[in-house]
Structures are given as structure tokens and as C-alpha cells.
């Protein structure tokens, strides 16, 4: 079971974390881990399944976050606004995938980078709507009398949403869509000619679903963080997401959760280790960045297929040279 082990492990880790760290801190982390995992699932589909590199996923998360923020401020209930956030994320994904009709590999990756930077610039410039670089405050998620503003409530919502989309993703991956994606990933020409797969449509589907998931994650992120501004969704964020699926293992859904755990919780863990060490902690900021970098390098060197593959008995290295 790809779901059970990381889920159990996460529960165990959360239990330990609650004991050691205090409930709110641990639950706050769990909230962000699950939210990042939702965006990570989108990348598992685009990168791990369909084999496309995208450097602009952060922009799709931004679209979702802004839709949710703008609607929540105007009192639109989340049951209405979140689907709209998903929709805009999906539309953004579709738009970002247009160059894939003509471009492959790195060239396409660069076009997604350009796409992301253009979206970011749009958010900065459209000040009448987004308030530009000044950013937007986002109210707590609320529906009628219900409100999710404590870490416990937030984690319940995030885990609920993650479970739902996880099931949906598992379904897509098992079905025709998944087969088409994997065929495109392994060999585009063979997929098209030998199997009669519509390569363009397969890529488009991957981007639409991946973009939708990014939009969903963005909507949650906006509520949990409570303040959004364009620079939060820049290139660093896109990279963080890419790193997330890669370290976790891009070919499996569980990779998204593993990766989110590493990306969100690792810096926190490093900070705790630092607190435990004696000596002058005032110089440690650079050391923390260094350690984070070192962990990434080691993870990539030791587990080129991601943590999920290691946890599940270490499959062989991928054949051939898929673009991811």
C-alpha cells in the first residue's frame, strides 16, 4: 500500500512531535506539510507521470491563492470559492502547457519559467485587484458559523482535502489517463504511433489536473498563512515544489507526502538541533541554509529515485533517460 506507510509514519511523527514540541507547533507543521503535499500531487502527475519538467508551478499556486483570498474577503463561502480557485489553477495549467505542443524537454521547462514570471508580474501590476506588492490579508476560512482558525481545525481540513484528492489521483493514475501519461513519459513517438495515444491531449490533461491541484493548495495556503503577496510564489517556491516531489519520489503519490515532510519540516528540525547545541547560536542562520543544501545533495545522491522508492523496498533505477 503506497498510502498506508507514509500515513502511519506521519501519524507517529505527529504524535512524537506533539509530545516534544507542543501541540500547536506540531499541528501547524502538519497543516503545511499536507497543504504542500496537495501541490506536490499536482507535480507528481505533471513531472512523475507525464514526464514534463515545469519550473512554474508556484504561479499556479499563486492563482489559486489569489482567487481564494479575493473571494474570501468578499464573504464568498469556501465551498464556492475553492472550486473557483481550482478552476483558475487548472486554466493556468492549460495555458502553461500550450508551448508543450511545440517544445519538449528543457525548452518547454524554460517556457514554464517564463510563464511563471509573467504571472508574477501580472499580480504585481494589477494593483486595483491584487493590491500589487503590498499584498493581501486573508481572513480565516469560515462557512456559516464554522471557522477553521486553530491549528487543529486547519489540520483537519487539510488532511480531509488531501485524502480526497489523493483518492482521485490514485484513480486517474490507475486508469486510461495514467497509462497515457506513462506512455508519453517513456517515449512520446512510440506512444503516439504504436499505441495511438494523443500526446498533446495527454500532456494537457496532466497540466490541467496538476494546475487544479496547485490552485487548491494555493487556496488552503492563503487561509493558513493569512497574508499573500506575489513574491511568495516566485521562482524559489516553484523550486521548492520541484525539490519536494523529487526528494520524495516523483513517480509515486506517496512521494508528495514524503517530500513535503522534508521540505517543510527539515528546516524546523535543523533549528531544533541548533537549539540543543551549545555555543553561540547567533551565527547559525548560514549553517542552517548549508545543512539544508547538504541534505538535498545527499538525498539526490543516495536516493536518485526519491525517498518513497526507498521506503518501498528500493526499486531499480529508472530505465533510459526520462526527462525527469
Amino acid at each position: 500500500m503506497s498510502l498506508l506507510r507514509p500515513a502511519l509514519l506521519s501519524v507517529a511523527m505527529i504524535a512524537i512531535a506533539v509530545g516534544v514540541l507542543g501541540a500547536d507547533y506540531a499541528l501547524g507543521q502538519a497543516t503545511l506539510v499536507t497543504t504542500y503535499a496537495i501541490a506536490g500531487l499536482g507535480l507528481v502527475i505533471i513531472v512523475g507521470q507525464a514526464g514534463q519538467i515545469t519550473l512554474g508551478q508556484g504561479a499556479l499556486v499563486a492563482l489559486g491563492a489569489y482567487v481564494e483570498a479575493l473571494l474570501a474577503v468578499r464573504g464568498v463561502p469556501p465551498l464556492l470559492s475553492m472550486p473557483l480557485a481550482v478552476l483558475l489553477g487548472a486554466a493556468g495549467g492549460a495555458l502553461a502547457s500550450v508551448p508543450a505542443w511545440r517544445l519538449g524537454g528543457l525548452y518547454f521547462a524554460m517556457s514554464t519559467l517564463a510563464f511563471a514570471l509573467i504571472v508574477e508580474e501580472m499580480l504585481v501590476r494589477w494593483t486595483s485587484l491584487t493590491r500589487g506588492g503590498a499584498g493581501l490579508s486573508v481572513p480565516a476560512m469560515a462557512w456559516g458559523g464554522l471557522k477553521a482558525d486553530t491549528p487543529l481545525e486547519q489540520v483537519v481540513v487539510s488532511v480531509g482535502v488531501l485524502s480526497l484528492v489523493w483518492l482521485a489521483c490514485a484513480r486517474w493514475m490507475r486508469g486510461r489517463l495514467g497509462r497515457a501519461w506513462r506512455a508519453v513519459r517513456e517515449d512520446e513517438i512510440a506512444a503516439a504511433e504504436a499505441c495511438g495515444i494523443d500526446v498533446g491531449a495527454a500532456k494537457l490533461h496532466a497540466f490541467v489536473l496538476g494546475g487544479g491541484l496547485a490552485g487548491l493548495a494555493g487556496a488552503l495556503y492563503a487561509h493558513w498563512i493569512g497574508f499573500i503577496s506575489p513574491e511568495q510564489f516566485g521562482l524559489t517556491f516553484s523550486f521548492e515544489l520541484l525539490m519536494l516531489v523529487f526528494i520524495g519520489g516523483a513517480r509515486r503519490l506517496s512521494g508528495a507526502l514524503w517530500g513535503a515532510l522534508v521540505i517543510v519540516s527539515l528546516p524546523q528540525l535543523i533549528a531544533l538541533v541548533r537549539d540543543a547545541l551549545p555555543g553561540d547560536s547567533s551565527r547559525s542562520a548560514g549553517l542552517e541554509t548549508m545543512l539544508f543544501g547538504a541534505v538535498i545533495v545527499l538525498a539526490v545522491l543516495l536516493r536518485p529515485q526519491g525517498l518513497a522508492s526507498a521506503a518501498e523496498g528500493g526499486r531499480r533505477r529508472g530505465r533510459g533517460r526520462a526527462p525527469y
Binding site: R102, S111, G293, I296, L301, G318
Partner: protein, 289 residues
């Protein structure tokens, strides 16, 4: 008209820096099929090394700069031997993340030095204004343009007329065949990284008088990607020209287009170029390489 030329020269100078970074990126990519996301960090560390040797250790500027560049080349070679070698033959993303991680290590390492995280530095280049008729050129811009032109000539000679250069090219075209012809492919990979890191350091030293030396100067490498892609990702002259083109377009857009459009222009141009020429702007150059 005067202000147009004025803006144009600034654009060319900045474009040369974009181009140099793009060049380092393409050099590595061509020879080792490794996408490096740490050229910005290499650039920054190189510039800081020059500052440390010049202001800290009191070496003359030229010696400090040359030593910093050589040191960065050495660092590039070492990183290839120890870490980056493992990315060869792996998916692109492996290299992307490895270099990103190494970049974080370099950046973090520098942040631990109090002097580096507290301050902005300059290299004592003569900071004059050269008057050419009514045109006022800053010395640092002229220096960048001249140094880039000189480097282009040196590299052209290197790749055409030296054994190592020819071997490196052979290796980039087809590593298997090159290895059958007796080219030490592994050594060539090391050489490519050394050159790539050294070039980034040169870009850093040249950028120092324009933006000064500080922890975030490596951000400029973000513009090098569009430049490299505009040049077709595998063409060295293309990368350089792509950089200059980008610098000029950016500068002119800032002058002529409505406020705020300037920052989108490089990426819009990139999108357009990708659509019109999926193989890069330099696809026409192919025959000459």
C-alpha cells in the same frame, strides 16, 4: 537620440554580463548535459573571493581577481569530481537539484561569515566617466564590454586551435565517438566545469563595479537562462549574443514602453522566440560551429 544611445550602451554592458553567465551555463550543459542552477552562486562566491583577497589580504586588484577566478575554476573541477559526476546520465532534474543544493551550501557558507552578511563591497576599479563627444560612458561599462569581447576571442581560439578545446568540442558533440577516438571524456567533464565556474567568477568580478558585491548579486543569473535559451542552449556564441540581445531589449523597453512592461519583456521575448524558433535563435548558426 543621445539618451537612446546612452541607454543602449548600458543595455549592452549588462547584456554582456547576462551573456557571460549564459555562456558558462551553456558550456557546462553542452559538455556534460548538466543543467546548472548554481551559476549565480558561483558568480557571487567568485566576486567575494576577489574582495577578500583584495581588501582583506591586500593583494593588488588584478592578482586578486585572477586568483579568485582560478580558485573558482578549481572549485568547479573539484565539485565535478566529488558530486556532479553522479548526475551524468541521470535525468535532468538530478543535476538541477544537485546544483541547487550546492548553491545553497555556498550561499549558507558565505552567510556564516559576519563580514559578508553585514555589508556591501566594491572592487577598486577606477570609477571614471569617459566622455566620447556628448556621450558619457562609465568606465565599468566599457570594461565589461571590452573584457567580454576579449574573452570571446580567447574562447574562440581555445575551441578551434588547442587540443583541449577541440577535445572538449568533440566530447560535446558526441561523447561516445569522442571516447572511441581517445578523448578522455571524464577529464573533459572536469575541464568543462572548471571553465564554467571560472567564467561565472569572471562575470562576478566584472559585475562588481556595476552592482557591487553582496549576497544577492547572483540573482542576475535568472536573466541568463532566457539568454541561454534564446541562444539555443547549445551554442556558445548564441548564448553570448542572446545575453546582449536581452540586455538591449530590456533597456529599450524601459525607455519606450509604458511603465512596468520592462520587467516582463525578457520573458515575453523568450516565449515568442520559443514559439517562432523552437530550436533557438541560433539555429541558423549551426553550420558554422
Amino acid at each position: 537620440m543621445l539618451s537612446l544611445i546612452q541607454v543602449l550602451t548600458s543595455g549592452i554592458a549588462i547584456g554582456c554580463v547576462y551573456g557571460l553567465v549564459a555562456l558558462s551555463f551553456v558550456l557546462i550543459y553542452k559538455a556534460t548535459e548538466t543543467v546548472s542552477f548554481m551559476q549565480g552562486e558561483l558568480l557571487m562566491v567568485g566576486a567575494f573571493a576577489a574582495v577578500a583577497l583584495n581588501a582583506g589580504a591586500g593583494w593588488p586588484l588584478w592578482l586578486a581577481a585572477a586568483t579568485a577566478v582560478a580558485g573558482m575554476a578549481l572549485l568547479g573541477a573539484m565539485l565535478e569530481r566529488i558530486v556532479l559526476r553522479h548526475a551524468i546520465g541521470q535525468p535532468h532534474l538530478v543535476a538541477v537539484l544537485l546544483t541547487f543544493g550546492l548553491g545553497l551550501i555556498m550561499r549558507g557558507g558565505l552567510t556564516t561569515v559576519p563580514a559578508a552578511s553585514h555589508d556591501i563591497y566594491r572592487l577598486p576599479f577606477a570609477d571614471r566617466v569617459l566622455q566620447v563627444g556628448a556621450l558619457a560612458l562609465s568606465f565599468s561599462h566599457v570594461l565589461v564590454i571590452a573584457a567580454t569581447a576579449a574573452l570571446a576571442v580567447v574562447l574562440a581560439v581555445f575551441f578551434r586551435h588547442t587540443r583541449a578545446g577541440l577535445a572538449l568540442r568533440a566530447c560535446s558533440e558526441n561523447a561516445r565517438v569522442a571516447s572511441l577516438m581517445g578523448v578522455p571524456v571524464e577529464a573533459m567533464h572536469t575541464l568543462a566545469w572548471a571553465l564554467g565556474a571560472g567564467l561565472a567568477a569572471i562575470a562576478g568580478v566584472l559585475l562588481a563595479p556595476i552592482t557591487f558585491v553582496h549576497l544577492n548579486m547572483g540573482l542576475i543569473a535568472l536573466k541568463a537562462f532566457p539568454a541561454a535559451v534564446l541562444g539555443g542552449l547549445t551554442s556558445l556564441p548564441g548564448a553570448l549574443l542572446g545575453g546582449v540581445f536581452l540586455g538591449v531589449v530590456e533597456a529599450l523597453a524601459g525607455l519606450a514602453l509604458p511603465e512596468g512592461v520592462k520587467d516582463v519583456v525578457p520573458y515575453a521575448v523568450l516565449m515568442l522566440a520559443l514559439f517562432l524558433f523552437p530550436d533557438g535563435l541560433s539555429s541558423g548558426w549551426r553550420g558554422r560551429r
